[in-house]
């Protein structure tokens, strides 16, 4: 029970956007600390809403978002951002903003309103650029980079924030395979070597099973299954969440489950039917 009190989670949270009713209702979720968690589910199932809720962007209509046993509402916006960093989906930098300037924005929660740029700020920016292999691109405008470099620049900004919990909204979407593996490998290293907690919305079940420690399957704003990849990725669960018939194979290297759609198993739009 003490474990439940630490780290980030939600208690009976209901979240939505003004009109149109709640996207998720009475959801409870505990993010395992110092682990890589992947949120999986079809488009519109509420993954991004959950991530934004965990980052404190939306105040729950009911329930609460909890960090180390306390509601995040007790924390100021900057104090929360020092603990929890968010990589937004399809963020676009203003024309002409350089990589260096973007990454420096990551220091926002560490700086007083009229404070000077400090040595600690400089170190955090340098380290973030180095870890994402973006040091050489410092003076390049973000809008002149390729998709993979651009994503790495945004990740560098989030790393410069030095929060121990990182929330990433579809960090691999629109990247080619090499860059996807690149980003996922970086997340893995942050967890293994620096003790970070990573939560990412992913679409590729094979990659999620290969890189994440903990999977959360979501459909219609509800958690269908959660746990280690090997126990969560079953044909029944995948059918229930995505409406796709799959066979589960085993990766000969890591024994991670590989989800393979069946040729004859035509997708059905309504898995409950």
């Amino acid at each position: 029970m003490t474990e439940r009190l630490y780290g980030l989670g939600m208690r009976d949270a209901t979240l939505g956007y003004g009109r149109g009713g709640p996207v998720i209702e009475d959801l409870s979720l505990t993010i395992p600390s110092r682990r890589f968690t992947a949120l999986l589910g079809p488009n519109g199932c509420g993954k991004s809403t959950i991530l934004h809720g965990l980052a404190g962007l939306h105040t729950p209509q009911c329930g609460e978002v909890v960090l180390d046993g306390k509601s995040i509402r007790a924390l100021g916006t900057k104090a929360l951002a020092r603990r929890v960093g968010l990589l937004a989906q399809t963020a676009s930098a203003p024309d002409g903003l350089t990589v260096g300037e973007l990454v420096r924005q990551g220091r926002y929660p560490h700086r007083p309103v009229f404070g000077a740029w400090s040595g600690a700020d400089e170190d955090a920016v340098e380290s973030a650029l180095r870890r994402t292999s973006m040091t050489g691109y410092r003076d390049r405008p973000v809008d002149s980079l390729s998709g993979g470099q651009r994503q790495r620049a945004w990740i560098a900004m989030t790393l410069a924030q030095q929060s121990d919990i990182l929330l990433l909204d579809e960090p691999t979407t629109y990247l080619d395979l090499a860059h996807q593996i690149d980003v996922l490998g970086l997340m893995r290293r942050l967890v293994d070597q620096e003790g970070a907690t990573v939560v990412a919305v992913l679409h590729d079940l094979v990659q999620a099973a290969r890189y994440a420690d903990h999977l959360v399957l979501i459909r219609g704003g509800r958690i269908v299954a959660q746990g280690a990849p090997i126990s969560v990725l079953t044909p029944e669960n995948v059918k229930a969440v995505f409406g796709v018939d799959v066979v589960i194979l085993s990766d000969p290297d890591s024994a991670a489950p590989i989800c393979l759609p069946r040729c004859n198993g035509a997708a059905t739009s309504n898995p409950q039917a």
Partner: protein, 329 residues
């Protein structure tokens, strides 16, 4: 990091010197030509001659009004672009200037308020009201929607302002040229009573510059970085109303300065507001002062600065709207 910063500071210094020379020159241009050295003498060591009186009482207020209103509107435009994420945002297009002008005309016509120290509050109220109305009508992901709301509010308020002036001949005489953005006939005491608000807003804008960079990354990213958006958007709106309201009270509803200057500045400085805003300040002053002075210098005719600016700004707006990626979606 230091070398581009130093080069940038040198360029800013050069531009400021250019502005100073332009200012002294502009004070010499008009019905009676006065040499730049004579203008300098009138400013530093006036002896009460006719040239001194012309420089100090006629030309100085006019030039001061142009310089400060231009600086304020360019900075206000840049801030509005950061707040809305909309490259077309500026106080003229989004109805803020029209709101201020409308409120000033109402105060003159219905409330018989004439002193500039009172009219400025009408200008602030009108600017804030119009900004809130345009935002309520046009907020959303589509940048064109906000501009359409601005156009609607601007034309409506402009029509009502015109109607009031048609019915009130006395008010019409007072403000006819002012509503077209003419800097002619400013009194030094009018300028002096608006100046503290305008300069105060400019100082706040420069102090908050770093906040606008974070804001320009969009609301999701800014909040993820821990920016208290409700607070900073409120403060930014306050600064914009202070800048646009006092600029309109001083020089009338000058359009396009807030659009043309920030975009030209960004081509040189990039997207960091700590660099954008100082350049906008100088650039807005230069553009507005040149728009007021050049027609007089070239053709000897007094064209309101607002009209010259519209001639320059309208083609720029079309180019911007056609070339900007965000508007094509």
């Amino acid at each position: 990091m230091t070398r581009p910063g130093a080069a940038s500071a040198v360029l800013l210094l050069l531009l400021s010197c250019g502005l100073l020379v332009l200012t002294v020159w502009a004070m010499g241009v008009g019905a009676s030509e006065i040499s730049m050295s004579r203008v300098a003498q009138a400013l530093w060591n006036p002896s009460g001659e006719r040239a001194d009186i012309v420089v100090l009482q006629v030309r100085l207020p006019r030039v001061l009004a142009g310089v400060t209103a231009g600086a304020a509107l360019a900075v206000a435009g840049a801030i509005m672009q950061a707040m809305t994420g909309n490259p077309l945002a500026e106080p003229g297009l989004l109805g803020v200037n029209a709101g201020a002008a409308f409120a000033v005309v109402c105060a003159l016509s219905f409330l018989d308020i004439t002193g500039m120290s009172h009219l400025i509050w009408a200008a602030f109220t009108g600017a804030a009201g119009a900004a809130a109305l345009v935002y309520a009508l046009g907020a959303g992901p589509n940048p064109v929607r906000l501009v359409l709301a601005g156009v609607v509010v601007t034309s409506f308020l402009g029509a009502v302002t015109m109607a009031i002036l048609m019915l009130d001949v006395q008010a019409l005489d007072t403000v006819r040229f002012w509503t077209a953005g003419s800097l002619k006939g400013r009194q030094l005491e009018d300028v002096a009573s608006v100046l503290p608000y305008l300069l105060g807003s400019l100082v706040l804008a420069l102090l908050f510059a770093g906040q606008f960079t974070a804001m320009s990354l969009g609301s999701t990213v800014a909040r993820g970085l821990g920016q208290n958006l409700a607070l900073w958007r409120g403060l930014a709106a306050l600064v914009v109303v202070g800048l646009a309201g006092s600029a309109v009270a001083m020089a009338g509803p000058l359009g396009f300065v807030g659009l043309v200057v920030p975009h030209m500045v960004r081509m040189r400085t990039g997207a960091e507001y700590r660099r954008i805003l100082p350049y906008c300040l100088i650039g807005g002053a230069v553009l507005t002062l040149a728009s007021d002075t050049l027609p007089r210098a070239l053709w000897g005719r007094d064209v309101p600065a607002g009209i010259t600016l519209a001639f320059l700004g309208a083609p720029f707006f079309i180019w911007l709207a056609r070339s900007h990626g965000a508007l094509r979606s």
